[in-house]
């Protein structure tokens, strides 16, 4: 491999932040593909454009996705990255690793690929960046034997993801790690064999802080919450007071619903439970003194997606409170999600995410047909227009257009 100059990229080895250029150069020592990647990237920096072509179809026996085809646009000039595909490996819940597992990932990727990886992609997978078409099946075989499986790509359930949850967080209202693991295993077929109108994502966040960005990024957003009143430890409040923590100004005054009252004399904090929206602000600021209620579970929100095509949607509430119990194998969640997918699969157009289908056909129709009860928690506010669709079967149909009667008869 000849050493070629990369003066533009070299500029990005300066500065305090760790450099991806340094990383590509490290990989390039062992991988001719990575060395060529450096060259084509230097050229992109000079020309200010990308040099990658569309993915063709590449894959693994028995799977419909998990590998993204990628080809350089001048294969003659860059033969080592003529094919430079991405392999998605389903990460363990919460991105926890032991070093043995991580080293296995590295060793296999050194054997078959570029030696470059993202830890992790935005959806959650371990992204193995750059291999040839001929290597894909061997890569899968090796990783599979080592206990790994592919992630999702295409019009399928994409790789699920979750926050750190009860593994290292006091806020987790349900076991996000177990939920993600259990539910991923439940929906292996949906994940590995694309058969839907478009992709669908699930993200599990343990509390309203939503560290996975579920509401913005997942079609099915599962955000931990509780149903009863938050719990206040008055002794701990007194300790915060003793440390001169600004209870009134930072916590009480900024409570969005003004449901907290702090008595400076007695150093007691009280809550009007029915006014609390469980936004987590006070818990975030005073975790030693305030914690969630005892009746814990999750809010199910549906429809989140990013920009293309109909602009970005955030997920919106579908089930305000749902139990998420390991003991019952997350039954309510699985049942509900199956009904939602089924409805979308029947009604969605190609490349239409769940949120867009609901928007096009109406939340009312969605709720009726998935048998999810309408509740005011599903909306910020009711409709402003009077354009209600009425179930004609519940009306008096004698003399309406529904019974095919003549207008003349009705007039009499």
């Amino acid at each position: 491999m000849t050493e070629k100059k990369t003066p533009l990229l070299d500029e990005l080895e300066k500065g305090k932040w760790p450099s991806f250029v340094t990383e590509i150069k490290r990989a390039a020592v062992k991988s001719p593909a990575s060395a060529e990647l450096l060259q084509v990237l230097e050229r992109s920096y000079a020309e200010r454009r990308g040099h990658w072509k569309h993915g063709g179809i590449v894959g693994v026996r028995g799977y419909g996705g998990g590998v993204i085809g990628r080809y350089v646009d001048e294969p003659e000039t860059y033969p080592n990255i003529a094919e430079f595909h991405t392999v998605r490996i389903n990460q363990p819940s919460g991105f926890f690793y032991n070093t043995k597992t991580l080293r296995t990932i590295c060793d296999l990727w050194e054997k078959h690929g570029s030696g470059l990886t993202n830890m992790h992609g935005s959806t959650g997978d371990v992204i193995l960046l750059g291999c040839k078409t001929e290597s894909i099946q061997p890569i899968f075989d090796d990783y599979s034997e080592a206990g790994f499986d592919l992630g999702g790509s295409g019009s399928c359930l994409r790789t699920t993801n979750c926050c750190v949850g009860p593994g290292r967080c006091e806020h987790a209202c349900y076991d996000t790690l177990e939920a993600c693991y259990n539910i991923t295993n439940e929906f292996m077929d949906e994940l590995h064999r694309p058969m839907w109108p478009y992709k669908s994502k699930i993200k599990f966040s343990g509390c309203a802080n939503d560290c996975t960005g579920a509401i913005a990024r997942a079609d099915i957003s599962v955000i931990g919450t509780w149903r009863d009143s938050l719990r206040i430890d008055q002794n701990a409040i007194k300790e915060y007071a003793a440390e001169e923590f600004p209870i009134q100004s930072a916590v009480v005054a900024k409570c969005p619903t003004h449901c907290l009252t702090y008595n400076k004399e007695t150093q007691e904090l009280s809550v009007v439970a029915e006014d609390c929206t469980r936004c987590n602000h006070c818990i975030n600021l005073m975790p030693k003194a305030i914690q969630a209620g005892k009746e814990k579970g999750a809010t199910l929100l549906v429809g989140g997606k990013s920009t293309i095509v109909q602009s970005a949607f955030m997920s919106s509430v579908v089930v305000p409170f749902m139990k998420m119990e390991v003991e019952d194998d997350f039954e309510e969640f699985k049942d509900t999600v199956r009904r939602i997918w089924e409805w979308w699969d029947e009604n969605g157009k190609t490349r239409e995410r769940i949120g867009e289908t609901i928007f096009r056909l109406g939340m009312g129709k969605f709720l009726r047909e998935t048998e999810i009860p309408p509740v005011p928690q599903q909306v910020f506010r009711p409709r402003a227009n009077p354009y209600v669709f009425w179930n004609q079967e519940e009306l008096d149909q004698s003399g309406t257009a529904m019974d095919g009667s003549e207008v003349k008869n009705y007039n009499k």
Partner: protein, 353 residues
């Protein structure tokens, strides 16, 4: 005598009483010494009292002439109407205020509608004169105002309450931005009179008039076909063609929307939101409608902060809390499914029960 074209409205300057001409643009502040009476004070020290009186809006010329008699006696021959169809007697001479009030009381006029009160219901024509009504207008207003009269001639509400009634989905008269909007609703698709269509309807315009694309041409019959599943009974097709009869006595009725306002004071102008999708047309006094409105108003009185408009109160406590406090049933019919529906979906995990 040839009529003059385009001479425009009468000049308002000729309609102003002397006290206004003298203090035009000089008013400094006003007070409400008692319900129905505004006292305006000018920089010059002059004062004017306005006495606000209810009108049923649909009135005879004799009603107007009666007003004139009173205005001549107490107001130097001047009076005005308000945008909400109240009458205002403009009293420049304070000595005439109490005699005027006494005469109004003697004659049975209703004085009120100022400050934290209900200030007459803006409304439409209904069965009296409209071609697409789903309910009557004047009759519903009469029934509701009879019931709520105590809130017209007092100022004991948390804040002002502006109501509007529209007899169909056109929602004429600001019902879409009222504290309480009463809206006539159809609930069944139009009945097509194919003969009438063949006789003179311009089919492409008719097809184009449907906001949901529910009407398509039927060239074989030289008429149209309505996809009933797509129809939301707005009646826009009937406005385009009399062949598309939309009224349906068995199923027409009233929807209640609340929480709108047009003023910018404190909070931004806001749309009214539907809280009851349907109440029956129980003429002549619409008891379900009057009760529903009274219940909402009493809940607001019991729970709002002083100065808080109905919609400001609901927004503060949250619509989900309004439904649990009011006990009104929530249904999927209250969830928007039209163009801007997405903005009403709760894209957040924080809410009450």
């Amino acid at each position: 005598m040839a009529a003059k074209l385009d001479q425009g409205p009468p000049n308002y300057k000729e309609m102003l009483p002397p006290v206004i001409l003298e203090n035009y643009g000089k008013w400094k502040y006003h007070e409400i010494p008692r319900p129905g009476v505004l006292k305006h004070v000018s920089e010059t020290g002059a004062t004017m009292h306005s006495v606000r009186v209810a009108s049923p809006r649909l009135v005879s010329i004799d009603f107007v002439r009666d007003l004139c008699v009173i205005a001549d006696e107490y107001c130097e021959g001047f009076l005005r109407f308000t945008t909400r169809n109240n009458v205002e007697f403009l009293v420049g001479d304070e000595a005439k205020l109490n005699p005027l009030l006494a005469e109004l009381e003697a004659k049975g006029y209703c004085v009120g509608g100022t400050g934290a009160s209900i200030s007459n219901i803006i409304h439409t024509q209904g069965w009296v004169h409209c071609h697409t009504p789903a309910t009557d207008a004047s009759g519903v207003v009469k029934a509701v105002m009879d019931d709520l009269y105590e809130y017209f001639d007092s100022m004991k509400l948390p804040a002002k309450l502006k109501m509007g009634l529209a007899c169909c989905l056109n929602m004429c008269g600001s019902t879409h931005c009222s504290d309480i909007g009463i809206v006539g609703v159809h609930r069944t698709p139009p009945r097509i009179d194919h003969d009438k269509i063949r006789k003179g309807t311009e089919i492409p315009s008719l097809v184009a008039s449907c906001p949901t694309g529910a009407i398509r041409p039927d060239p074989k019959n030289k008429s149209v076909i309505v996809n009933n599943d797509k129809c939301m009974y707005c009646g826009n097709c009937y406005t385009m063609s009399p062949a598309m009869e939309i009224y349906d006595a068995k199923n027409d009725g009233i929807a209640i929307l609340i929480g709108g306002k047009v003023s910018n004071a404190r909070s931004a102008p806001s749309f009214s939101r539907m809280v009851i999708p349907f109440l029956p047309n129980n003429a002549p006094r619409w008891p379900e409608t009057t009760k529903a409105i009274r219940d909402i108003i009493e809940l607001w009185i019991a729970n709002a902060h002083k100065g808080e408009r109905l919609g400001e109160w609901v927004e503060r406590i949250g619509w989900e809390r309004f439904f649990s406090l009011s006990g009104l049933p929530f249904s999927d019919m209250l969830i928007d499914d039209y163009i801007f529906a997405r903005e009403t979906f709760r894209t957040g995990a924080a809410f009450k029960y």
